[in-house]
Amino acid sequence: MSAVVPGDLTATPQTGAMSARLAYRRSRILREKLIEFALFLAALVSVFTTIGIVYVLVKESVVFFSQVSLWDFLTDTQWTPLFDDAHFGIMVLLSGTLTSSLVALAIAIPLGTIIAIYLSEFAPFSVREVAKPFLELLGGVPTIVYGYFALLFVTPILQWFYPALPGFNLLSAGIVMGIMIIPYVASISEDAMRAVPMSLREGSYAMGATRFQTAVKVVVPAAFSGIASAYILGISRAVGETMILAVAAGLQPNLTFNPLEPAATITAYIVQVALGDLPHGSIGYQTIFAAGLTLMLFTLACNIAGHMLRKSFREAY
């Protein structure tokens, strides 16, 4: 009998037991390959999701832009897609998105950063152990609940201070959105600061610096790339936030940068159209995809800017 190389299927002659073993081995190899391929397909689902998003947004937007010129879309100062005299100026919706996001970030970034520095550098262990899970819990509260707060809790309080404030306004929506984003900013910034090696702090203390000086001049710069990620995440949260604005900021398109006025955002407009019963394939139906594409490009630009910012500030230890 010639030497049989394991796995060499051409080797002859074979005893019955040997061929059975080889058959088993072949089926086993085949099964392993099949399983690996199935798992690979599962991993590819995420890629298909991205392709699907781009495909759907671009496909409907192409139809939209064949009827509305890109120039009008970017420069028109009115957004009345469902009227007879239709105007498609995305600036109107973008102004609402930007204004509410700025209000939210003006609250979330300073408070989130201070909380992160406090938790990472100042807080006793017990406070941190309680505060971190608490922050995580708050990150899980549904946004529609925050919308309820903005409309029925924060707006009445603001009206108490400033009676002329309309029932729907960007300010209260922005404030609540800011409160919603604080946990994200604080939690990710804190993780970044905790990752700064202890030796840097020790060096700083050895030079006679106080905790505050160490935190602001050593730890924050060292963790800046992580903190920047937290800010970028906060920005994309604010820009993409939907329900708070749909509930509390009113749904009328309004070209304004005044947070005391009501205005629709890109996201709120999409919800408004989806709630109505627009026929599939109408121009109104296509507007939400053009609006969605704008939103997507805007968040993409933020993410790329953040990536570049991180790269130029990256400190490796």
Partner: protein, 308 residues
């Protein structure tokens, strides 16, 4: 003399620095308290508004034009059914993808693309998933405005959460476990099936619960695919009296979910409906807090217990 003067100057400097330290510490504590207080005020306000409406009838009544009789029956059943579909797709796909990326994936450009892609998907606004589902599931695939469309949408939405959790808990398994299993002649799949997945299951579960808590509260994508806001019937029951006993008609049924019901009540002008909204919100917050709390507790126990 000059020496003593310098000394007082230095002492003054140290004192002022220490003061700054204390001021900032107080500021931080204040900011934390401000956050905590704001949240507590919001939730207590909602609980007070909604508590009067919470009763058995509230859970067993359909929505109604009369606020006093309206309930969340169709909403909570819709939420549960959508969650079943979401879990059915998100858990196997997420775990398989995580397993592939940790155990199988070769180091090449395709793997890099998949990894970058998952990171980016986590940052896509949820309403964009709604648009994807509207264009693809509702019209292209013809699933309509059904529980299936909503479940698939939310499954895609939470897929990155499940994948990241799976990868993290797989990464925590020491290499020696794998080597031991391979040394006994196990194939790669046997090692995964008998060792990797069981050992990482608690960590995966944590991620799944967090993802499901997020999915149950998502409103925007579900509205975008066209879930109805007023539904006074239930989807067909999954279990029937006649053969074949099990029916999947409910998957294609129109539906509503808890957050949409709450949105509907919040957007109405009458104050009586706002009470209903508060009650629905209270139930919703309780559900998500319980799920997230469970996940955090699980992870905490896991960290303490596992000693390889």
């Amino acid at each position: 003399m000059a020496y003593a003067k310098d000394l007082t100057a230095i002492r003054g400097l140290i004192a002022s620095h220490k003061r700054w330290d204390m001021i900032f510490g107080l500021c931080g504590l204040l900011a934390l308290m401000l956050g905590v207080l704001a949240f507590t005020a919001l939730f207590v306000d909602m609980a007070i508004d909604g508590f009067g409406r919470l009763s058995w009838d509230f859970f067993t009544s359909f929505p109604s034009r009369r606020p006093g009789q309206a309930g969340i029956l169709s909403a909570w059943i819709g939420s549960c059914l959508v969650m079943i579909v979401t879990a059915f797709f998100a858990v196997p796909l997420g775990v398989a993808a995580g397993l592939y990326l940790e155990e199988y994936a070769p180091k090449n450009w395709l793997t890099d693309v998949i990894e970058i892609n998952i990171t980016n998907l986590a940052g896509v606004p949820s309403i964009v998933y709604g648009l994807l589902a509207l264009g693809l599931f509702v019209y292209q695939f013809g699933f309509g405005q059904s529980i299936l469309s909503a479940g698939l949408t939310l499954a895609l939405l939470i897929l990155p959460v499940v994948i990241v959790a799976t990868r993290e808990s797989i990464r925590a398994i020491p290499q020696g476990i794998r080597e031991g299993a391979y040394a006994l002649g196990g194939t790669q799949w046997q090692v995964c099936k008998d060792h990797i997945i069981p050992y990482s299951s608690a960590g995966i579960l944590t991620g799944v619960i967090i993802g499901m808590a997020r999915a149950i509260g998502e409103t925007a994508p579900v509205i975008t695919i066209g879930a109805l806001t007023f539904i006074a019937f239930l989807p067909p029951a999954p279990v029937q009296a006649e053969p074949p006993f099990v029916s999947f008609d409910w998957v294609m049924s129109p539906f509503t979910v808890m957050p949409i019901q709450m949105f509907n009540w919040t957007s109405r002008p009458e104050a009586a409906f706002h009470q209903n909204a508060a009650a629905a919100g209270f139930v919703l917050v309780l559900m998500t807090l319980a799920m997230n709390g469970l996940a955090i507790w699980l992870r905490y126990r896991l960290r303490k217990k596992i000693k390889w």
